[in-house]
């Protein structure tokens, strides 16, 4: 794995030096922004360069929800499970999505197309229940068919690639 970008990110965050403990969280955030997840070689390299035990990075990666140690889906679906979405029926929608995609929350479909995550909360309670695909917000009020939204996404991808 080419670690040039990882080095650049570490340089960027440590150029002002001096803190007793290196800024590993922003570094990991930027690594994740680059690769969409935290590949093991990148973490091992970061630990070595910063003289931090790898277990510290693993601890942080598993403590904070935004870090992922496995690749996300090509499209990441975040279903909001905030309170307003919950009372508006988000648990039933989660069931529908899981059946539609054939995966459980936290997993990625076999073809790598879709990843499904529960999040709390995206703060768009007026749209509850809300689903965010990549950066698009979908309000699932009323009789919105989530299956159809997924199908359309798949179709539009096929169009682009063909």
């Amino acid at each position: 794995m080419d670690l040039t970008r990882v080095d650049e990110i570490i340089d960027e965050h440590t150029k002002n030096g001096e803190r007793s403990y290196p800024p590993v969280i922003p570094i990991m955030q930027d690594i994740q922004a680059e690769y969409r997840w935290l590949p093991e070689p990148a973490l091992v390299h970061t630990a070595k360069r910063l003289h931090v035990p790898l277990v510290d990075l693993y601890g942080i990666a598993t403590f904070y929800q935004s870090f992922r140690l496995t690749p996300p889906g090509e499209h990441q679906i975040n279903l909001c499970m905030g309170t307003a979405c919950h009372v508006a029926g988000a648990p039933l929608i989660l069931g529908k999505l899981e059946r539609k995609l054939g995966i459980k929350a936290g997993e990625v479909t076999e073809d790598g197309k879709f990843g499904l995550d529960e999040v709390r909360c995206v703060g768009c309670c007026a749209l509850a229940p809300v689903m965010v695909i990549d950066t698009d917000y979908h309000s699932l009020q009323g009789k919105t068919d989530v299956g159809k939204i997924i199908d359309e996404k798949r179709k539009s991808d096929e169009k682009v690639s063909s």
């Binding site: 007793s20 922003p26 955030q29 309170t83 059946r99 999040v119 950066t135 309000s139």
Partner: protein, 643 residues
């Protein structure tokens, strides 16, 4: 941009900005916070721009895109000044009409104003709307007037005037005294008096001090901090500058949720602008006060809203709380004295300095002063952010500002304070909303989330929901919270599944009290509130689950069954097609549709698909076994039809 090296230079710049903006010049302002953008407000903005260019009105009218105006239900919406006409739920195709009517003909385009669904009364002006009428929008009004990426917009509205006043004429003690006198209390949930907090930090001797803005808004159902940062980031920065001056800090951090991309972007731009103008940096406005602010992005942990956990997170460690004392004012960030306040608290500071402590203290109740922003969400007509004077009753909030419960449903409870708060029942609706009254009722104000629940909400399920949340968010450091929340969850899950035993409720209550008394941090100590408050006010619902194995709201999947009303059913076959487990049998037009409850997984797909609402949920899992006459007994195996 030229650096402002003195108080006079700041005033000169403000004068120059204001000279360019006559107040009577028409302005169209499109609300575009996260919710607005999700509903297409940027497309509406674009359509306005085109309509204006098409009519060659660029010189006649200003077009602005701002943060959220609070009325989420009416997004995308636009405000036309100076008249104050409010247009709601706009589509790009409506926009040309509005420009023509409002700007060219100077009339109200009646078609696009808000009309009350019940009374059919229509409201042309924002000030007339029931949603806005009762509000006291000290902070949110600024959101409607400021383009968040334009520092001049903020300067034109007395922006950084409070900082100038503080640097020019107030000592550190003066500032602290003013804040103390205003009665401002922490808006993040604790309600601790802000002035006293500042004083603690001020009194500490240290070569280095920090101020921190807690923008890790983790409560599900609360988004006022996001809205302030998106819509008016400079007011938060100005508040921090004043606080830093008062306590003697040189550096500040804003710890913001990374899930708020627009807030992060606007904040970053605002910080750069403030630095360029010399409002952050060395010798601010020619004084000997130097201060800069960094942004620290959260990585997704609810517990980081707790101040000691937040500090650990800024230090790039796991966000685990620690024992207090020492308080952050004594030993905070990198062991230096640190003052932490929430976004809304910081945002109130410039207003108090500008308008005076007396102005602020004149609003609200005896012990809770000023206004507070609430996120009014859930089963309510007017979803949105509302800023009201402290002391308004819950009833006024829910029924007058919020417009009541939609779909003719009955109000059941309002949940305040997020996972650390509780559920308040109907008979307490006349409770004044302030820090202390909500505490007495077994809830908390928290950061201001208010989720309204109607009769279709099961309160045991709500308790379960919050326990699931808290179990996942417990940092694991102290035993009562780490072990206790999963145990509480186990009991509540058992109750929801219909396996509760009579001793469960007492066990739950005891456990909840133990966790409350023994946990290390605020998250643990308040994690029992959802359970204790629902047990206190909705014990009958728990008992129905335990003794009668019935979910009165017909929501808990294990305690309900679905049934088709043969009278209403039109035999359209939609439910059978929708069922993922082939639990429905029947033939098109044969009026013999039937749900086999032993196969049904209670996913709700049939109920949702039914065009005539013939499918309903009934209490009791297994109905008395009597296959209805005519129902085909050939229920296909029960295999899943995925996809």
């Amino acid at each position: 941009m030229e650096k402002l090296t003195s108080l006079e230079k700041l005033q000169e710049r403000r004068n120059a900005v204001m000279a360019e903006r006559p107040e009577e010049k028409p302005r169209i302002i499109v609300s575009a916070g996260t919710c607005g953008q999700a509903r297409g407000s940027l497309e509406v903005y674009e359509a306005f721009r085109e309509a204006i260019v098409e009519r060659k009105l660029e010189e006649t009218v200003d077009l602005k895109v701002t943060g959220c105006h609070g009325y989420c239900e009416a997004e995308p919406n636009a405000l036309v000044l100076p008249q104050g006409v409010f247009y709601a739920n706009l589509k790009p195709k409506n926009v040309a009409d509005i420009v023509e009517e409002t700007i060219v003909n100077n009339k109200v385009a009646e078609k696009y104003v808000v009309t009350d669904k019940v009374t059919k009364e229509s409201f042309s002006y924002a000030s007339e709307l029931p949603f806005y009428r009762r509000q006291q929008r000290n902070l949110l009004t600024l959101n409607t007037l400021i383009e968040p990426t334009e520092i001049d917009d903020y300067l034109a509205l007395d922006g950084y005037a409070a900082l100038a006043k503080v640097l020019g004429s107030m000592s550190q003690q003066d500032v602290i005294e003013e804040i103390k006198r205003s009665g401002l209390r922490g808006r993040g949930g604790g309600g601790f008096p802000t002035g006293r907090k500042w004083e603690f930090c001020f009194k500490e001797q240290s070569d280095r001090k920090y101020v921190v803005c807690n923008a890790d808004e983790g409560d599900p159902g609360a988004y006022m901090d996001r809205s302030l940062l998106e819509g008016n980031p400079h007011i938060v920065i100005e508040g921090m500058l004043i606080g830093a001056y008062a306590v003697g800090a040189q550096e500040g951090y804003i710890y913001v949720r990374d899930e708020y991309p627009i807030a992060v972007r606007h904040l970053r731009i605002a910080l750069e602008q403030a630095r360029e103008l010399g409002l952050l940096g060395d010798s601010i406005l020619g004084s000997d006060f130097s201060f800069d602010v960094h942004m620290s992005r959260g990585a997704g942990a609810f517990v980081c809203g707790e101040e000691t956990a937040l500090l650990h997170s800024i230090e790039s460690k796991r966000g685990m709380p620690r024992q207090r004392p020492p308080f952050p004012a004594q030993k905070g960030l990198w062991d230096k004295p640190t003052n932490i306040n929430n976004v809304e608290t910081w945002a109130n500071v410039p207003l108090i300095v500008n308008k005076g402590a007396d102005w602020f203290a004149a609003q609200g109740t005896e012990k809770s002063k000023g206004s507070k922003i609430f996120a009014l969400v859930g089963k309510i007509r007017n979803t949105g952010l509302v800023e009201v004077p402290m002391g308004i009753t819950l009833r006024e909030l829910v029924y007058e500002v919020g417009g009541g419960i939609p779909d003719d449903k009955q109000f059941k409870a309002v949940q305040t304070g997020g996972p650390s708060g509780g559920c308040i029942p109907e008979h307490l609706l006349d409770l004044p909303v302030d820090f202390d009254a909500l505490n007495e009722a077994g809830s908390i104000m928290g950061s201001g989330g208010m989720v309204v629940m109607d009769e279709a909400t099961c309160m045991v399920d709500v308790a379960k929901y919050f326990l699931e949340f808290l179990e996942g968010e417990s940092c694991g450091k102290c035993t009562p919270c780490r072990m206790g929340t999963p145990l509480m969850l186990q009991i509540v899950e058992r109750i929801c599944d219909g396996h509760g035993s009579p001793g469960d409720l007492d066990a739950l209550e005891n456990l909840a009290k133990t966790i409350k008394n023994c946990s290390l941090c605020g998250l643990g100590q308040t994690s029992s509130n959802p359970v204790l408050s629902t047990l206190r006010y909705f014990r009958d619902e728990y008992e129905a689950h335990v003794h009668d194995k019935v979910c009165p709201a017909c929501l808990c999947p294990s305690l309900i069954r679905y049934e088709i009303d043969q009278e209403t059913c039109i035999s359209c076959d939609r439910c059978r097609k929708a069922c993922p487990v082939s639990a429905i049998t029947g033939e098109l037009k044969q009026h013999n549709y039937y749900i086999h409850n032993h196969l049904c997984i209670r996913c709700g797909a049939c109920e949702e698909q039914c065009p005539v609402s013939a499918i309903s949920r009934l209490p009791g899992h297994e109905p008395p076994v009597q296959e209805k006459a005519g129902a085909a007994v050939t229920a296909a195996g029960g295999e899943r039809k995925d996809g």
